[in-house]
Structures are given as structure tokens and as C-alpha cells.
């Protein structure tokens, strides 16, 4: 399953799911969850959401600055984690140049080694989470300082995978081709 810009990966109650936006509809959003499409919008009366025209009561809150949404539904409470898979896929690294796992999963492939020079957008590694493959790419021209994982490794969310250092044009030009 390809990861693209109009999707999000969520984990709830230990299960991870990818949700894709199929299209926008005058009545709400058409989303695909596990291959099934749903039309969703907020219940105009504020009771919860409308799923395919039926009210499903729920209440939720998102903590400021956290990729977590607390949801109360059917009398039970769930914590839903939003994985910034898109950010990882587009190669956003933290300021210190560490590429970290955006969600828990397994490292399927490592494409680079320490010392390599990489171009912006180059694939560094591929992760798998619930059969979803996510490509981790270089956010900018950089040199690989350290590869902290091996293919096959199981990693937690936030675990550092690869350390990069941004390179200058001259540095990159000096690199062996």
C-alpha cells in the first residue's frame, strides 16, 4: 500500500490503521479505512459524528501540541495516536538531524550507510507498520553520520534511526561519485 499525501496513520487500542481521503463531498469527507469507504461529517447537533448518514455519539479532545486524541465512544475511552507518517515520508528530520521512527513498526530496508552523501528526497530507509510501507527520505542534502538500526529491527515510535548532517555544496561536490 502506497503512502501518499492525503492519508494519515492512526493507532488505537494497539492496532494501526491507514486512513485515506478519497474525496471531499458536499456533505463531508469520504474516507477509506481498510479498503472500506465511509462518508463522515460532524453531527450538526454536536452529539458526535455522522457516519454514512447515521449519528455515532462520541466526544473527543486533542491535547495541545500532542499527536494524541482522547476519544469517548460507546461509553469507553480510547487514546488514538496520530503518526506523522507524511512528515516522515517527506523526510522531515528534527533540527539535530535525527530521522526518527514516526510510528512503532519494523525496519524493512536500510538504503544508506554512514558516510554516504544523499540528495534531498533520497530514500534512507523503509519502515513497515501494519502492512503499511513508509519511506523515510532525506529532508535536504546531507551526509549520513550514523545508521542506528539494521533492516529487520523492531522500533518504537520516536526511536532515532539515522543521523544526518546537512552538507554544503562544496562538501557534496568533493564527495566521491
Amino acid at each position: 500500500m502506497a503512502q501518499h499525501m492525503n492519508s494519515v496513520v492512526l493507532t488505537a487500542a494497539g492496532e494501526t490503521a491507514a486512513i485515506d481521503v478519497v474525496r471531499r463531498d458536499p456533505h463531508g469527507l469520504v474516507l477509506s479505512i481498510g479498503g472500506i469507504t465511509y462518508l463522515i461529517c460532524d453531527d450538526p447537533q454536536g452529539r458526535g459524528v455522522m457516519l454514512d448518514g447515521r449519528v455515532v455519539p462520541l466526544r473527543l479532545v486533542r491535547a495541545a501540541g500532542a499527536d494524541e486524541v482522547h476519544v469517548e465512544i460507546a461509553g469507553e475511552v480510547y487514546l488514538v495516536e496520530i503518526h506523522s507518517a507524511i512528515a516522515a515520508a517527506s523526510g522531515a528530520a528534527s533540527n539535530d538531524g535525527v530521522i526518527a521512527a514516526a510510528m512503532p513498526g519494523r525496519v524493512v530496508a536500510v538504503r544508506v550507510a554512514a558516510g554516504d552523501f544523499v540528495e534531498t528526497g533520497a530514500e534512507l530507509a523503509v519502515m513497515e507498520s501494519m502492512k503499511l510501507h513508509i519511506s523515510l527520505t532525506a529532508p535536504r542534502k546531507a551526509r549520513v553520520l550514523e545508521v542506528l538500526i539494521e533492516a529487520g529491527a523492531t522500533v518504537d515510535k520516536g526511536e532515532p534511526l539515522i543521523r544526518l548532517r546537512e552538507t554544503t555544496t562544496e562538501e557534496a561536490a568533493d564527495a566521491p561519485h
Partner: protein, 497 residues
């Protein structure tokens, strides 16, 4: 003299929901309410509500609320005429009222000797026996040989429990249902007790099967009047702590209520009790009842008694402390309808009831016309491990028990606490447990029904709705939507809730 003239200012030496609840009665009676707080509670509702507040130092924070010299100094400095201890903390520590008395400050509670007498469990049981109160029958002390144990067991009737004198943690404990099993069980219990505690002394006690925990509310004054305000059924417990209480008990007949009430009044009289108190009993399947202990303070679950009797128990406590006569005769007490209290705690029932911490990100309270919500939290508060996990109590009343349960279900569904994990979802499951609905409660019910009370699976539809609702709020989707050239009207339907 009005009570506000006798007691113009009262310091509440507590925090959380109970401090706020006490202050509400103080406010209604025109008494100045003085709060105390540890820095962690600086923004707590009880501090905001009070007319004045005094900061206490403590490390760990709980020590602030247990510090007698600091509290006495705070009471003096703030001009308090008396101190209300609430429950927990220093409420049953006789040294506190003694220190206050020395400082010339009043105490909203019973006299210190009654607290001390009831605080010693062995002395309390002895007092109970003297007052003619039923206690669990058993051998008079340790039994030396299996034959003595057999004689004691015959006398109290099977099943019996063999208990280690030095006991604890179930070591040296045996339940014997058949006389033929007694001798081997006695030998095993003795050996286990010897090995565990270095003390093999064993005593015999009648074993109460599927016991209920039912308590009697007492009200007394300083003029020798004592009455009871009926019972509370408190059998639903986890780790020996109550989580749902009701009044009246669905199990108690008027005759049993009267008999338990009479014994409770007798015990209170035996210690010249002069305030509000509770006498706890265990009750067997045959409605035989046995004294366990007396709580010489306001109980957490007092609101269910208030709901069915119409009395404000804190007011009764204040009037007694002000020296006013009770003014209520036993015949005046009427019980109307049924009430249920749910204790909402910061804990995770799906992880062994472990206490939880975290921020209260969302708080919805139930409709106040149908439910009372005694809460010590506010949205934005952070629940820490520093204090008791009790966050709030939800109390409902109905004309009948079934109506009260229906209202509890409704009020529990209106209530919402998100951010910190609470037991509210578990309490909702409990309200629907068939054994609870049938009134078949006992202290082991929550453990026995653990499978029925486990978190249910989410239906496919609900799961899809949950994921879709969250996905629609995810930044990536919002950004993607902003790029999609579709009708703009659709996005207007999304609100940040």
C-alpha cells in the same frame, strides 16, 4: 444565636471534592470558609471557592495536609473558630483535636477520646461486645490444638475460617466447610503461620460467605442524643475500597435496619458519641450482621444518606460542634426513594485499578437538575500521584432503586472526563452488570465478575467512526483538504471539539 455567630469562620483541613462540599454548606450558613493548600493545589477549585486560603508546606505534598502544627498555626492566623477535617488525612487522629483544643480552636467532630477508642480496632471490638453489639463469633483467643479448634468451630457453626494471630496477606488462612477437614487444615495453617510469622497461633472465626458491607450512619449531639439515619450498602469494592454505594441497601429489611440501627446507637452511646459517625458491619446471606469498625468522621459516601433523608450531614456536624441539640428524633427520620453514588477515580480498571495521572483535557458534568456532582477538579487541572485518586462523586436519586439506576446510567453518560484515565467507563459497565441490577452484591462481586466487567470490543462501525473523526482532525488531512479543489462548504462542518 445562629450557628454563624457561634462559628463565624471555619478552616477546612482538607482538599479536593470534600473540601469544596464542606465549604458549600459553610457558605449557605453564612460561615467564612478558610482553605488550606499545598502549592500543587494552588489553582484547585476548593482554594478558588474559599473566602481565604492559607498555603501549607509539605514534602511530599501530602505531608502538608497532615502537619498538625502548621494547621493549628493556619487556623490561628486566619481567625478560624473551628476546624473541619473532612475525611482521610487527620480526621481520625485524636492528636489533632487535642492540639486544636489546646490552642483554643474548636473541632468539627467527636471528642478526642471517642476517636482514640474507636481507632484501636481491638479495643473497639471489646467496647462493641460490652455494648451488646454483634461481632463475628469465634474462639476467645488462639486455640492450642486441633481438638480445641473443632470445639470452637462446632460452637460458631461451619463454615469457619482459621486465621493466624499474627496474620496478614492470607498466610495461615484456611476456610473449612466440613468438620472432617478441620484437623488437617489446622495443622497446615499452623505450619504456614509458624513459617511466615514465626508465630503459629491460630484462632477460629465464623466464615461469612459472600459478605455484604453495610454501614449505619449515626448522628449525635453534645446533649446525649443519638439517632441513626439508616444504612448505606457499600459492598462494591476493589482492593477493599468502595467505588459504588447506595442507600437504602436493596438487601436490608425494615426489621434488620432497625436492629442494626439500635446496635449502632448503643455503641455510639457507649463512647458518649457527640458528632456524626458511621458504624460498619458485615452482613451474611441470612442477614446476620457483625460489627467491623466505627469511622468517627464524615464518610466519602455520605451524600446517598443526604439524598434519601433530606438532611445536610455537614450541617448536622456543625450544629453538634456548636453545641446545639440535634433536634431530630428517631421517629422524625424518613427514607424517601433510593440513591446511588459513583466514585470517579483517576485509575485504570483495565490495568488492575492502577492509579493514573495526567491532565484533565475535557470535563463535562452531568445535568445538575438530575444529578449531584461533587468534584474537586476543573478542566485544565493536572492529576498527580501526590494525592488520593478520587476526583469526583456522582450522586443520583430516584423514587425506586431501578429509577436511581436509570438516572445513574444517564448521568454517567452525560459526564465525560478525558485526558487522565478514569474508572468512569468501568462504572458504566458496573451499572449494567446483571448481579448489581438484581441487588445481589457482595464484597467479592467485582473480582468474581471481572470478565463481565472487562472493556468490551468496539463495534466495527464505532471503530470506523472513531478513526474517521480523528483522521479528519489530523493536521495532514487538514492540509490535504486545503489543497483539494472541492466544495468549500464541507470544511466548514468541521469544528475543533
Amino acid at each position: 444565636m445562629t450557628i454563624a455567630e457561634t462559628l463565624p469562620a471555619i478552616l477546612v483541613a482538607n482538599r479536593g471534592e470534600i473540601a469544596l462540599r464542606i465549604m458549600r454548606t459553610l457558605r449557605r450558613l453564612g460561615i467564612r470558609a478558610i482553605a488550606v493548600y499545598h502549592a500543587l493545589d494552588r489553582n484547585a477549585p476548593h482554594v478558588a471557592f474559599a473566602d481565604a486560603a492559607v498555603e501549607l508546606k509539605g514534602d511530599p505534598p501530602v505531608a502538608a495536609y497532615l502537619d498538625i502544627p502548621q494547621l493549628v498555626a493556619a487556623a490561628k492566623a486566619s481567625g478560624a473558630a473551628a476546624v473541619h477535617p473532612g475525611y482521610g488525612f487527620l480526621s481520625e487522629n485524636a492528636a489533632f483535636p487535642r492540639a486544636l483544643t489546646e490552642a483554643g480552636i474548636g473541632w468539627i467532630g467527636p471528642h478526642a477520646e471517642a476517636i482514640a477508642a474507636m481507632g484501636d480496632k481491638i479495643a473497639a471490638k471489646r467496647l462493641a461486645v460490652q455494648a451488646g453489639v454483634s461481632v463475628v463469633p469465634g474462639s476467645a483467643g488462639a486455640v492450642a490444638h486441633a481438638t480445641d479448634a473443632e470445639a470452637a468451630a462446632e460452637a460458631v457453626g461451619y463454615p469457619v475460617m482459621l486465621k493466624a494471630s499474627a496474620g496478614g496477606g492470607g498466610k495461615g488462612l484456611r476456610i473449612v466447610r466440613d468438620p472432617a477437614e478441620l484437623a488437617p487444615a489446622f495443622a497446615a495453617a499452623q505450619a504456614e503461620a509458624e513459617a511466615s510469622f514465626g508465630d503459629g497461633r491460630i484462632f477460629v472465626e465464623k466464615f461469612i460467605e459472600r459478605p455484604r458491607h453495610i454501614e449505619i450512619q449515626i448522628a449525635a449531639d453534645r446533649h446525649g442524643h443519638v439517632i441513626h439515619l439508616g444504612e448505606r450498602e457499600c459492598s462494591l469494592q476493589r482492593r477493599n475500597q468502595k467505588i459504588l454505594e447506595e442507600a437504602p441497601s436493596p438487601f436490608i429489611t425494615p426489621e434488620t435496619r432497625a436492629a442494626m440501627g439500635a446496635e449502632a446507637v448503643a455503641l455510639a452511646g457507649a463512647v458518649s458519641y457527640d458528632s456524626l459517625g458511621t458504624i460498619e458491619f458485615i452482613v451474611g446471606a441470612d442477614r446476620s450482621f457483625y460489627f467491623i469498625e466505627m469511622n468517627t468522621r464524615l464518610q466519602v459516601e455520605h451524600p446517598v444518606t443526604e439524598a434519601i433523608t433530606g438532611y445536610d450531614l455537614v450541617e448536622l456536624q456543625l450544629r453538634a460542634a456548636a453545641g446545639e441539640p440535634l433536634g431530630i428524633r428517631q421517629d422524625d427520620v424518613r427514607f424517601n426513594g433510593a440513591a446511588i453514588e459513583l466514585r470517579i477515580c483517576a485509575e485504570d480498571p483495565d490495568a488492575g485499578f492502577m492509579p493514573s495521572t495526567g491532565p484533565v483535557l475535557r470535563l463535562n458534568m452531568p445535568d445538575p437538575t438530575h444529578a449531584r456532582f461533587d468534584s474537586g477538579i476543573a478542566a485544565g487541572a493536572v492529576v498527580t500521584a501526590a494525592f488520593d485518586p478520587l476526583l469526583a462523586k456522582l450522586i443520583v436519586k430516584g423514587a425506586t432503586r431501578d429509577e436511581a439506576i436509570a438516572r445513574a446510567v444517564e448521568a454517567a453518560s452525560e459526564t465525560c472526563i478525558l485526558g487522565v484515565t478514569t474508572n468512569l467507563p468501568y462504572l458504566r459497565r458496573l451499572l449494567n452488570l446483571p448481579a448489581f441490577r438484581a441487588g445481589e452484591t457482595h464484597t467479592g462481586l467485582l473480582a468474581d465478575a471481572a470478565a463481565e466487567l472487562a472493556k468490551p470490543e468496539l463495534s466495527e462501525t464505532d471503530r470506523a467512526a472513531m478513526l474517521a473523526a480523528v483522521a479528519a482532525r489530523a493536521d495532514t488531512i487538514r492540509h490535504a483538504l486545503a489543497r483539494l479543489p472541492e466544495p468549500l462548504s464541507a470544511i466548514g462542518q468541521w469544528r475543533n471539539t
